[in-house]
């Protein structure tokens, strides 16, 4: 199912499933609402998100895939507490590509020049992330937040003509930091925009071109060991 369609269906379903008591309070409002003042002590808030991630290992991704960023889509559940001041969220995401795969080709790198060999290589990245943070209830409908957490990242890599031992299927943990702002368009629906930094060691840098780039004596070299990167995320949140 395409992410956009899934998003619309989920929003519709979740909106329709609003509790009766909440609907009663909304009906009593005059059209304006105070999201921060309206927040319950604890709230469950499903969300869907799309993100564009710029990978730290730019030389590795550029060599293999000819691009250094990728789009993800995903979703999860956010729990806010203390009337919306703190939150924790669990989310999962997938590459927004056909078959959820980045498709590139194997290469040989010599003296900094990349030679593409025409042998197809397919990679997937499947993050499952948990973050927690603080929401600043400074404005009725504009809520900045910062958070940090950790994730589990499953990385697979398959090449044509590869023996099984040459394909990769590995899962590693990584760290997350993000900061953004949630805009409450409606008592039950908000949109959040944030920047997220992930640090995922242990997957890149141990072999292949990532290792070759990581062994160079440049400031970029350290980043070639990191599957993480900087992501701009757009999130639609349902719930108060």
């Amino acid at each position: 199912m395409k992410p956009a369609i899934a998003l619309v269906i989920a929003l519709g379903a979740l909106t329709a499933a609003s509790p009766a008591s909440a609907q009663a309070r909304a009906a009593g409002a005059t059209g304006l609402f105070d999201a921060t003042g309206d927040a319950p002590m604890i709230s469950l808030r499903p969300f869907l998100d799309v993100s564009n991630e710029k990978f730290l290992a730019v030389k590795t991704f550029d060599a293999i895939f000819g691009e250094t960023s990728a789009q993800f889509w995903g979703g999860g559940l956010q729990v806010t507490g203390w009337h919306g001041r703190v939150y924790g969220e669990l989310g999962a995401s997938r590459l927004m590509k056909k078959n959820e795969q980045l498709v590139g080709q194997r290469v040989f790198v010599s003296d900094g020049k990349v030679y593409k060999l025409g042998i197809a290589l397919r990679s997937t990245v499947k993050p499952v992330e948990f973050t927690a943070g603080y929401r600043f209830n400074a404005h009725p409908r504009i809520i900045p937040y910062v958070g940090a957490g950790f994730g589990s990242y499953r990385y697979t890599e398959q090449s044509d003509f590869a023996d099984d031992s040459e394909n990769v299927d590995v899962t590693k943990r990584g760290g997350i930091f993000h900061a953004g702002v949630e805009l409450r368009a409606h008592r039950w629906i908000g949109a959040a925009i944030d920047a997220q930094y992930t640090h995922i060691p242990g997957i890149l840098g141990n072999g292949g071109v990532s290792q070759q780039f990581a062994q160079e004596s440049t400031t970029q070299a350290k980043k070639e060991r990191d599957l993480g990167g900087w992501a701009a995320r757009l999130k639609v949140v349902v719930g108060r």
Binding site: T60, I64, N99, E100, Q101, R106, V107, F108, V109, S110, D111, K113, Y115, K116, L117, G118, I119, A120, L121, R122, S123, Y155, T156, E157, Q158, S159, D160, F161, A162, D164, E166, N167, V168, D169, V170, I203, L204, N206, G207, G208, V209, S210, Q211, Q212
Partner: protein, 540 residues
């Protein structure tokens, strides 16, 4: 030079010296023989001593396996790769279509039975590519209505040439992992031209008229045979009989193009066979890059070149090697094989103008590499003769984009003759000699029994024939270098077009032998064609 010929070198020198005396009145620029026709009868092909008809042909199933490679694949719990998005199922015949659909739906919510293809007694169930096909198959196998269900495990293309002597004699190609390399690149260097700077190549049919004069060899005087008509034929397994299309810009450097670069020795034809022998045609042996184009460049004289009247002084000199290298670079060659060499001082790196060094060759090699040409040079066969420094092997070690190649035997051991030193960069099969067929590198070339008639007793001495081909085993670093050249041609075909990068790829993917890291016996190690062509992924 091959060790096969070692026994005849002394004899050749003796014959040459005798001829210089005998034929001193011959004008130095006279054509030593007369080619009276561009055509001749095709070669007589003689088989080797050992034949084995067992082979795995290049089947349609194998090709289908390669086609399967373009699908999304996944390594299952079983550890085997399968194509995602489908499961192979065979229902019991009595199970109705509606019940089949129901069973499939219970095993996979996205499962749909595809239209059965001709010849199939099973169905393909299409499922979401994200689903675990092995798990879906396991679920279906629990149902009594299902005879079997399995994931669509991926098969590999396994190209094993059907050339009958490949399996029995060509250990050398398996040693450098050629079968998997051919899986990656079945076109085997088809757009690349390889120059072979050697004794020439048996690449076309011809008929010669030669006045065979008397000569003295080892104190024995061989009689003049007078004007003889001598047949010459292309090696069918090298050029397919006619030579059309396979050979480009042939050139005889010795005669400045006055003659075609006919091989009267067999060495150059053998070397060319290892590089690009016609392969998978059900005949004879296989070659490494069996679709390359060949550029025969003659700089070395065989025995009969001398006996036909080419002055020994005009053969096999540095200037001719330099000219051949430049000719190759200017005429479209992308790879050069030089299975030749001589000893040199060890100080040429510091002072290339020292006596015994070869600055003309060095400049030519630099010129060729600067034009995008990769060069492989045999390291030399003098390990057990004092192991002197060899050139142009030593020069190659100083040029990024040219390599010197040592030899290993069947067991990946250092071949006892293979010169060693700091100039050795790579190793490849050269054979270990001995009485075993597997001590040699086998290719089709001139049958020495019809060529080296001067080795016969005087009473049996007769004119040679160059139209009889046989599969001959040679050993030497001359035989090692062509392996590297063939793989280099495939690397260029694969997209690594810079000769320095080709060298880099060969060295970084070589199998380290001997002392850890680069060493003087094996250089960076034994080349691995498949690893070189496979390159690198993100993490492996």
């Amino acid at each position: 030079m091959p060790r096969f010929r070692a026994r005849t070198i002394a004899a050749t020198l003796g014959v040459a010296a005798a001829l210089v005396l005998t034929l001193r009145g011959q004008a130095p620029d006279a054509r030593p023989f007369l080619q009276i026709a561009d055509i001749g009868l095709p070669a007589v092909e003689e088989g080797g001593a050992v034949w084995n008809e067992s082979h795995v042909p290049w089947t349609s199933q194998a090709r289908a396996g390669r086609a399967a490679g373009v699908e999304l694949v996944r390594a299952g719990v079983s550890g085997r790769s399968y194509a995602t998005g489908k499961v192979i199922v065979r229902f019991r015949d009595e199970v109705a279509a509606e019940e089949r659909r129901s069973i499939v739906r219970q095993a996979s919510s996205t499962g749909e039975i595809a239209t059965r293809r001709p010849y199939a007694d099973f169905d393909i169930v299409r499922i979401n590519p994200g689903e675990d096909a092995e798990a879906v198959a396991a679920g279906l196998n629990l149902r009594p209505q299902v005879l079997y269900a399995q994931a669509a495990y991926r098969v590999h293309a396994t190209f094993v040439p059907n050339d009958p002597q490949y399996a029995d004699l060509q250990w050398n190609l398996r040693l450098v992992n050629m079968e998997k390399a051919w899986d990656i690149q079945p076109q085997a260097g088809s757009s690349i031209t390889v120059a072979v700077i050697d004794t020439g190549v048996a690449y076309r049919n011809a008929t010669f008229s030669v006045n065979l004069r008397s000569f003295t060899h080892a104190g024995i005087r061989y009689p003049a045979l007078g004007v003889q008509t001598i047949p010459y034929a292309a090696a069918p397994q090298l050029v397919g009989g006619s030579g059309s299309g396979r050979v480009v810009a042939p050139y005889d450097v010795i005669s400045s193009g006055g003659n075609s670069p006919f091989d009267f020795d067999g060495h150059g034809t053998h070397v060319s066979g290892t590089i690009g022998q016609l392969t998978n045609d059900g005949i004879g042996t296989a070659g490494v890059a069996f679709n390359v184009k060949l550029m025969p460049l003659k700089v070395l004289c065989g025995d009969w070149d001398i006996l036909f009247g080419t002055p020994a002084a005009r053969c096999s000199t540095d200037d001719q090697v330099a000219l051949a290298i430049r000719y190759a670079a200017d005429n479209g060659a992308k790879v050069i094989n030089m299975s030749l060499g001589r000893t040199s001082p060890s100080t040429c790196a510091a002072n290339r103008n020292a006596p015994g060094c070869a600055p003309a060759v060095e400049d030519a090699m630099n010129y060729a590499v600067s034009k995008g040409v990769f060069i492989a040079v045999s390291a030399g066969n003098d390990f057990d003769r004092g192991n002197p420094t060899e050139t142009p092997a030593e020069i190659a070690s100083r040029i990024k984009g040219a390599v010197s190649v040592a030899a290993v035997d069947l067991s990946k051991n250092h071949a006892r003759y293979s010169s060693s030193g700091s100039w050795v960069e790579l190793a490849a099969p050269g054979g270990g000699g001995g009485n075993d067929d597997l001590g040699y590198i086998w290719q089709q070339t001139l049958d020495f029994r019809f060529v080296n008639t001067f080795d016969l007793p005087v009473a049996q001495y007769r004119a040679p024939r160059f139209d009889v081909m046989a599969y001959i085993g040679y050993d030497g670093t001359s035989m090692a270098a062509p392996h590297v050249v063939g793989v280099a041609a495939m690397l260029m075909q694969q997209g690594i077009t810079d000769p320095a990068a080709v060298e880099d790829a060969l060295e970084k993917t070589a199998i380290d032998l001997g002392a850890s890291g680069r060493d003087d016996l094996f250089g960076f190690g034994l080349i691995d064609a498949r690893n070189a062509l496979f390159g690198k992924g993100m993490t492996k």
